[in-house]
Amino acid sequence: MKKKYKKYFSSAITIFVAIIISFYLVRSMPGDFIHLRATEIQLQQSLTYETAYNIAKRQYNYDPSVPIYKQFIGYVGGLAHGNLGQSVILRIPVTDIIRKALPWTIFLCSVSLFISFLLGSIIGLFVSFRSRIRWLDSTVSFAAALSQSIPDFIIALLLIVILAINIQLFPLRGAYDVDTVPGFNIPFILGVLYHAVLPVMSYVISTIGAWTLTMKASASTVLSEDYINVAKAKGLRDKRILSKYIGKNAVIPLVPGLAISFAMMLSSSLFIENIFSYPGIGYFFGFSIGNRDFTLLQGILLISIVMIVISNHVADKVHEWLDPRIDL
């Protein structure tokens, strides 16, 4: 019980550090952008400079005139009210952008993670069970090493060149058909799935090798356990031994890796979503770094770190649920 609270406490500290980093980012922004924005508002809405300046301060959730610690308190206070400021370039609240972008990223990453984990562990399980077939083992090892050596964005580029430009089988960019109406209707959902194929493939191809190898290693330790010999001696079918005896036990050590893999995908989304112009948070991450849109940048950074912390907790919960022996 005590350990559990410790874990929440350390997550809180992590998020707090993330807030400090994002705060530092705004302060490191070159130029007096509040002044620029204030003069703009002044011209547009014919207000006095002071009023315009106050509006600009609220928009960016940043006040340069007060001492640093007060700025920080003000910033955190703004965060507590859900005020992530307004995007410098896009001129809309950062929370609106995140609310639209985050579901796309979660969709891509979770689907890819699911497919890659499932396929990888099935292949790994099968190979370890049939490890006497030398060619199978060496082919899979080779393929797994190759999968680990190609960065996901390179796979994305290759897929684009081959399947989107030369064969024109899949769309080049975007997340859905522009002609369809976003919502719960069949043409839109089909379009979304169709557009997700290439990004999902890039994630899956680059991560499946690691899952295969870890599953293979995990399954071969389980294979040497006595109860497997007992199961074989009892004359149980291979299929049953594979799924109920080996698979179930071998998959448990892989579960904590899910959170790590999810975090990696989230961090790779910076590259993948930019290559496919997929409107998730990775795309806006790249956009905000490239255009020095620091308010958007800090908002997205913060939300990604919170996501990673949450995914760690979820993986812990799943791990605990699968294996009651461990006490986290």
Binding site: S10, S149, I160, L301, I305
Partner: protein, 287 residues
């Protein structure tokens, strides 16, 4: 003599393990390309739009780019930069990880808990975006600075590993003997602790170098760090984002060359790392 003996026996294991030997050979080729290659192959900067996107030929081994310049010479000249980034990152990150890991492990107690807390936080940060952000804030102009920046966000996992190795070694008998014999901490660290961790450290060194290439190429692909145009990451950036070579079917040799060289290098690193692992850990041999 003993050293030579152990080295030759290890060399034999390396040559027996095909995968590791293959990786090792490729790494040597890349090393030669990065060191003496630029002196052998001259970089032509003559723009000749009539000869753009040529295929593979004897004159142009990997074809020509969007302005009719030889791709192969660009690859060779860019390799120096790529290797420099990879190995400076690995060097600085390993250095930081060793110092922090050993310090944390030997000190123990509250200092250890505090350092490991920092490591935990660093591990939670999304790696590539953080690297990209800092690369965007500090305008980076050379490879080594870039390497140092990447190293700042790459040392954490290794330092955690080194710390736990120190924890497991430091209570063993031979370290206690050192304490009793009143040997200096310096001696314990460099003569007793580090030699025991060399396999672990060298494998991680290779993996950090591998990840540094992924990170640096990705960041250059986004166009955040504009380094020399012959850098492979920049070549891919130019081909895909700036001149639109991905839409030109016969530009494939130009587009695929840097990709091919990156992938082969990564593949060699992975194979070599697995070879090194077997070299030091006889139990994993033949697995």
């Amino acid at each position: 003599m003993k050293l030579i003996d152990s080295l030759t026996s290890r060399y034999k294991i390396l040559t027996h393990n095909n995968r590791a030997f293959f990786g090792f050979l490729i790494l040597i080729l890349y090393f030669l390309m990065a060191t003496i290659g630029p002196h052998l192959v001259s970089l032509d900067n003559i723009i000749d739009y009539a000869g753009r996107y040529q295929g593979i030929s004897l004159q142009h081994w990997l074809g020509t780019d969007y302005a009719g310049r030889d791709t192969f010479s660009q690859i060779v000249h860019g390799s120096t930069d790529v290797m420099l980034i990879a190995f400076s990152t690995a060097f600085f990150a390993t250095f930081m990880a060793i110092i922090i890991g050993i310090f944390s492990g030997l000190k123990g107690g509250r200092i250890d808990a505090f350092i490991m807390k920092i490591v935990d936080i660093l591990l939670t940060l999304p790696q590539f975006p953080i690297m990209a952000i800092f690369a965007g804030i500090f305008t980076i102009k050379d490879s080594i600075t870039f390497g140092i920046l990447l190293a700042c966000f790459s040392w954490a996992p290794l330092s955690r590993g080194i710390r736990s190795q120190v924890l497991s070694i430091k209570n063993k008998e031979f370290i206690e003997v050192c304490h009793i014999m009143n040997m200096s901490t310096f001696h314990i660290i460099f003569k007793e602790l580090l030699p025991n961790m060399i396999p672990f450290i060298s494998i991680n060194f290779i993996h950090i170098a591998k990840n540094a290439i992924i990170a640096s190429v990705g960041i250059m692909l986004l166009g955040i760090v504009p380094l020399s145009v012959t850098n492979w990451g920049m070549m891919i950036n130019i081909a895909t984002k700036q001149v639109g070579a991905i839409y030109v079917p016969h530009a494939l040799p130009y587009l695929l060359s840097p990709i091919f060289f990156i992938v082969v290098f990564q593949f060699a690193l992975i194979n070599f790392a697995s070879g090194v692992e077997e070299l030091f850990d006889p139990r994993s041999r033949g697995r």
